[in-house]
Symmetry: C2
Subunit: 282 residues, 2 copies
């Protein structure tokens, strides 16, 4: 498999320097798992891209066009097994200044990458996480979507270098826990799942949505609300989710230890595995 | 004069698609006025670029190298009169993921643009501004610097289309007024100047710094502190500042009207004009 970037016309290596994605972070992105040469959960990912573009007032081509582009890129990179596809959609080129034209033409870029390699232990025995110092600033206009304004995550991820820490959890300025730098967070609480609301900060991840929908289908209640950080010390099971990993149980966060994976997490992982998220097969 | 973009080696039209500026907004920018073919306030701008890069943990070449690059670009674009130079400095190319390498090599881009055209009335009779709906989220890690994460400003600037509104003022989530989408804000209050602190949101503009220093030199006291939005209705003079305009008096904001330019604003404009900010010569 060869990595590569593509636009709607074929392979690219560069973008125009006046692209508003570079100049202002004016755009969104989305990262899709490729398994057996096929995009996983494509409908949820396409919906998320459309929602993100709509929030920024950008037009995005029809889902069919995007999926054709993705299939084409998978073919050209001979990605027959596992990989990562990353769509980057910007408001395109424009003159200097924050003001944009309503007829600006979005630029769509698609990168195909090799899958990151993680030891099997991440799923079977859980991962260690830390709490980041940097707090997420509340911004309802951007919360939930994966905009290209990601400096908070960049700075938070670079607070630690130890390879033994798999992820950093991020709080907001009110002391609520929101998400990881690249993942969503679930706590097992009161016999159900509890996941932080992402209406003022954080990302509404595709795997998070998939887990919420699956759990409700299987009779496991899910509460979505602000989660004070002290709840992390009150519960026995915590797990992370994202599109690439499915679920990683958390076995330690600072001085708190958790059963990893605990019984409820195992139940969720089993239903995920049955839905085609193969990494979660224990 | 021909507009154009440059890097350290010469003219460019594109940047690599894996640049972290595009992928994450991982970088800073700075916009410098060119007058009579020379950069204005170069030392303050170079200092600001260095401060911004340091906050993001990026190395930036020595100021001499940047100023040589600027002089070269001004020559190549034959910008003998007025213009705008925009430095964009990103963390350079890198692999996928928020984590960055401590030996990443910043990418420096420099655009030369024509000066925007404004009617003389903006200085002599002031401008009308509005209050934006979008609130700035507090983020001390990024406040003060001009990072490439500018979606808040993009969305705020596009709340209005009327050409009669010159600028939008932005509040933070506590109801303090912070700055304009592309300018800083000063109120005349208690016989001195009052300008919002930019420690949790907003940009520490070069012209703002220049005005603060000049005013203090001339015995006009300047207070820098959080400014509740109601203060806008309690004062008689308000003005905006940025590198390109120097100062624009504000004559109206919503239902509030101001003397534009009032006596204190005129005094500041005069000292700015005497320091070489020619637009402020009334």
């Amino acid at each position: 498999m060869t990595m590569g970037w593509f636009d709607i016309d074929g392979a690219i290596k560069t973008v125009p320097v006046d692209d508003r994605g570079l100049q202002y972070g004016d755009g969104v992105f989305d990262t899709i798992a490729i398994r057996q040469g096929r995009p996983r959960l494509p409908d949820l990912h396409m919906e998320r891209l459309q929602i993100g573009c709509a929030r920024l007032g950008m037009d995005l081509p029809a889902t069919d066009v995007l999926l054709d582009m993705l299939e084409d890129a998978i073919g050209k990179t001979a990605c027959h097994g596992s990989g990562v596809a990353k769509f980057v959609v910007t408001r395109g080129s424009g003159p200097r200044g924050y003001r944009f034209s309503s007829d600006s033409v979005p630029r769509i870029m698609l990168g195909i990458f090799e899958s990151p390699v993680h030891v099997r232990d991440c799923w079977t025995h859980g991962v260690e996480v830390r709490i980041c110092n940097l707090r997420l600033g509340p911004q309802p206009a951007l919360a939930g979507i994966k905009s290209l304004n990601r400096l908070e995550q960049v700075l938070a991820r670079n607070e630690w270098q130890s390879e033994s820490i798999a992820e950093g959890l991020m709080l907001d300025t009110d002391g609520n826990i929101i998400c990881g730098t690249m993942s969503n967070l679930f706590l097992v609480s009161n016999g159900g799942l509890l996941t932080p609301a992402v209406t003022t900060a954080g990302v509404s991840g595709v795997m998070r949505r998939h887990i919420i929908a699956l759990s409700e289908t299987h009779g496991l209640p899910v509460t979505v609300e602000p989660v004070p950080v002290r709840k992390l010390t009150d519960c026995r099971e915590v797990f992370l989710s994202n599109s690439q990993i499915g679920i990683w149980p958390v076995r330690r966060c600072g001085t708190s230890s958790y059963t990893a994976p605990g019984p409820t997490t195992q139940r969720v992982m089993k239903s995920l595995a049955n839905s085609g998220i193969d990494e979660c097969r224990l």
